[in-house]
Assembly symmetry: C2
Homo-oligomer: 536 residues x 2
């Protein structure tokens, strides 16, 4: 074969839009497999609806309806009571990949990429050639309807049929037709997804009409809005050299000292004085735009020598212990559970995160198997259920790393539900489809500690129950012989058989406490997490 020159090869060189890329690689957005693809659509729209309502300070109500339109072809419509999208932004918000209000801020939200809704628009036009129908109002008199699609070559929105509809109620409604999708009522289906969404969002009202027309209602169980997280400033401890350099070069401050105080969490004038002592050859009074890579490296090194107080908790709002307890109780009706909320921890890049975990035992916990039960793991990120790609997820890895047997818990046999929610201003997802959290050491470790604490909390109850079960068995075995023994003794000693039987029963009961009766008082969720942290 003749050799080919670089010049020939490179005549085929072209640049591509991100929309074309995802059109060709739609599996990366979560559109692989018919069942998963349908869940992805609901997931993207529902998370946007919840985020928007909360940002506007509105208790969210979301209605999702899925109806069959043919073989592997469904209509999906989602209506919320949120703030709506101003007419001039609707194309960008729903039909441009990587445009959005969320991407550039460090604020805890479900969506964080500006890809999801545009991905749905792309998937609809790819599979059915249809546009997405939008009905929307941002307030009285500001309603409109329109149809949207994406010009994939340019990654630009195409908005058509715009009509003013002053009477529409506030909120956003999107309706699209999708093919190559399939509705299924399974562990990986929409109903399970919404059930888990309700579990982690007790302040939301969710209604789902399935393809048979049946309405599933998940009522609001908490009537107050969750506290809003504030946008976060990065913490110095999590910063990398290039982060600091970029912040410095983009800063409006006139001195490095004030730049550090204004832009990063926990940097006081006292800390700056400490840093000045540690890094003598960096001039803290110069313009931050003059900060060099070397200066930045020195500062980062110094950050690690200073004592910092923990990051503020105002930026991360976890679900909360009481709400998790309430939700788990509603769904699993467990005999016992233990809920753990860890303190704020730091991921690289200075990003704070909080892990919550719970382990419940009995009731509808776990999954039924042929031989009894097994444990199930429910994964959440910023209250969003993660149903797919569990194999690569930090939560799965951490749960596998826990030595459950040490806590007398048998994950292969016991009815256990394991719940983990990771809250952060930026969840490091493994993929654009946001179904799995990357295996960052800091996150795995926090989850592991939370799960060990939860396991320890449940251990006492389960051990007691196992002991009680064991003793009840012993007690019943011995009692089976009590009557015969009393008859034999009676015939030997001529004493009253009934009296002898009673005496034997009393004797056995004094040695083996008559167990096996569930103690309802201790099952109530009043236990507190042990304060001690496990070091291994």
């Amino acid at each position: 074969m003749a050799e080919k020159k670089a010049e020939e090869i490179f005549t085929a060189f072209k640049e591509h839009s991100i929309a074309e890329f995802f059109k060709k690689n739609r599996q990366m957005l979560g559109y692989s497999g018919k069942i998963r693809s349908l869940v992805t659509i609901v997931h993207e729209y529902a998370t946007n609806s919840l985020d928007a309502a909360e940002e506007a300070g509105i208790l969210p109500s979301v209605r999702i309806s899925v109806s069959e339109k043919g073989e592997d072809r469904y209509m999906v419509s989602i209506t919320d009571n949120g703030p709506g999208i101003p007419k001039s932004y609707v194309g960008k918000a729903l039909a441009t990949i990587l445009a959005g209000t969320k991407f550039h801020r460090y604020v805890q939200q479900r969506g964080q990429q500006g890809i999801g809704a545009a991905g749905c628009t792309l998937f609809s036009q790819m599979t059915t050639g249809k546009q997405i129908l939008v009905k929307c109002s941002t307030g009285t008199g500001k309603g409109y309807t329109c149809k949207i699609s994406i010009d994939t070559v340019k990654n630009k929105p195409v908005v058509s049929d715009m009509v003013d509809m002053p009477d529409l109620p506030r909120g956003l409604s999107v309706e699209g037709e999708f093919a190559e999708v399939k509705y299924e009522n399974s562990d990986h289906g929409i109903l399970e997804y919404l059930k888990r969404t309700a579990l982690s969002n007790p302040h939301a009202e969710i209604t789902f009409v399935d393809p048979t027309g049946q309405e599933h209602k998940f009522p609001r169980s908490v009537q107050v809005m969750p506290e809003r997280p504030e946008p976060a400033q990065p913490h110095p401890l999590g910063l990398y050299v290039n982060d600091l350099l970029e912040y410095a070069h983009a800063s409006q401050e006139r001195k490095i000292s004030s730049f550090l105080q204004e832009n990063f969490a926990r940097v006081s004038s006292g800390k700056v004085a400490e840093l000045r002592e540690l890094v003598k050859d960096v001039d803290f009074d110069k313009d931050p735009k003059q900060l060099s890579w070397d200066d930045s490296e020195k500062l980062i090194k110094a950050f690690k020598q200073v004592k910092w107080i923990a990051p503020e908790s105002t930026h991360i709002k976890p679900i909360g212990e009481d709400q998790i307890r309430l939700a788990m109780k509603n769904i699993f009706e467990p005999e016992f559970m233990h809920v753990v909320e860890r303190k704020t921890a730091l991921l690289k890049g200075g990003i704070p995160f909080i892990v919550e975990a719970a382990v419940s035992f009995g009731g509808f916990s776990g999954r039924k198997t042929d031989e009894g039960h097994e444990a199930t793991v429910m994964r959440f990120a910023n209250r969003v259920p993660l149903l797919f790609d569990s194999g690569t997820c930090a939560i799965t890895i951490a749960a596998k790393n826990v030595d459950w047997k040490r806590y007398n818990l048998d994950v292969e046999k016991m009815p256990l539900s394991i719940f983990v929610n990771v809250s952060s201003v930026h969840i490091p997802y493994t993929g654009v489809g946001k179904e799995s959290i990357a295996q960052e050491d800091e996150i795995i470790e926090e989850i592991r500690l939370a799960l060990m604490e939860a396991a320890r909390g449940v251990q006492k109850y389960v051990s007691g129950k196992m002991r009680a079960h064991h003793e009840a068995t012993r007690y019943n075995t011995i009692m089976r012989y009590a009557k015969q023994l009393s008859l034999d003794l009676s015939s030997i000693t001529s004493k009253d058989q009934k009296a002898l039987e009673k005496a034997i029963e009393k004797l056995v009961a004094s040695k083996i406490p008559q167990a096996g009766v569930k103690d309802e008082e201790t099952a109530e969720g009043t236990e507190q997490g042990e304060a001690a942290e496990e070091e291994e």
Copy 2:
């Protein structure tokens, strides 16, 4: 809390470049974890070098060198003998995300996204603030050196210090400094990655200098270039409505009939005549640009009613049975193996793919464990080893779905290596980091069938070996008594003891073949895959 209006919320609206997106989500490119990040760098550059050399018709030689520059900080340099990059394209090729020669063509190559090399440039500037140093020549007198980085806000290349170097030899050399990375000699390290690359690319010469200065050489074991795959035309059976519509609207043909014949695999004038019969209300003589969504739906339906011959094999070049056998022999020195190459199959979108699989037994196959051995699975896509994210990969799922016990293979105890390579013009990776193949039904099924056939091929040998082992044990047990028996018989019958012992030995040997000796002839790889396909 007061409600916030949509207009307030949307003032924070911004669009972002794909470079900014990956800067914030570098874990999606494979940059999560220090060890994995270093492998990702080598993986991206090495696949580009192999692709470029092959496209130019040059037998690839690649030299990779990794040296330590500080804590979690390394210099990586890669030099190839490929065609080089013309000076005017170097910025786009190495420092623009989603620019590349590969993305828009359906041709089987390792890289397919136009992201990898630019991702390395981004990662270097993010972690060390350094540019990538390029030394390159596309032929005599056309050498140059320069430094490159990315303007992430615009996703545009920044090329500096361009100097002509007419004496440089042909090829590309890149050198970069990276932090937050770590070299480790493990199952997930660079050495293992390159070992597997050598396994699946016997026509390449690979040299690796590790951080201790030790040189590892993987010599070229095959001196001929693999056949070059031709760019593929989509097959009608795998097309979706929107694909057909887009091809039609972009077509230069004047009639739908000629458009179909010119653009799709296996569409002859005879097939068009058949289609005309099936779809009477579509005018095959009209301009393809006039094709409507409805027309396209009707054609797609008709495609499924026509009989098609299999896709051509010129577009997919798998590694080949002999080469896999040779490579497995070099690396595992197994007692026995069975290699399977499946026929071309079709993935949705009309994309052809071929699965190759091999199972080897004994030698260095599998992994040593405390209790003996266990099976290992080696995953490849277009000859590229996949080391990470195995949990979500179609290959892993398919291997789990095989009932190995049915073939008398115990994956928990036997020294088995399971090899799978998927070749295609477009591998549906789960993520941009290209470490895992999406769980598309068609792919999983092909892998499963290939593995079952390979398992069946090994079954006979392993069963024979197990039976031989069993019989050898029986034989030896009985023989232990032969001498004593002959002594006893001799004293009773006064016959010669030696003669009796010989007679007994002969008798036992006739009943139990003296097994336990490895039959070297049958271990050689001459066995043919059974033709029968398994239906379950």
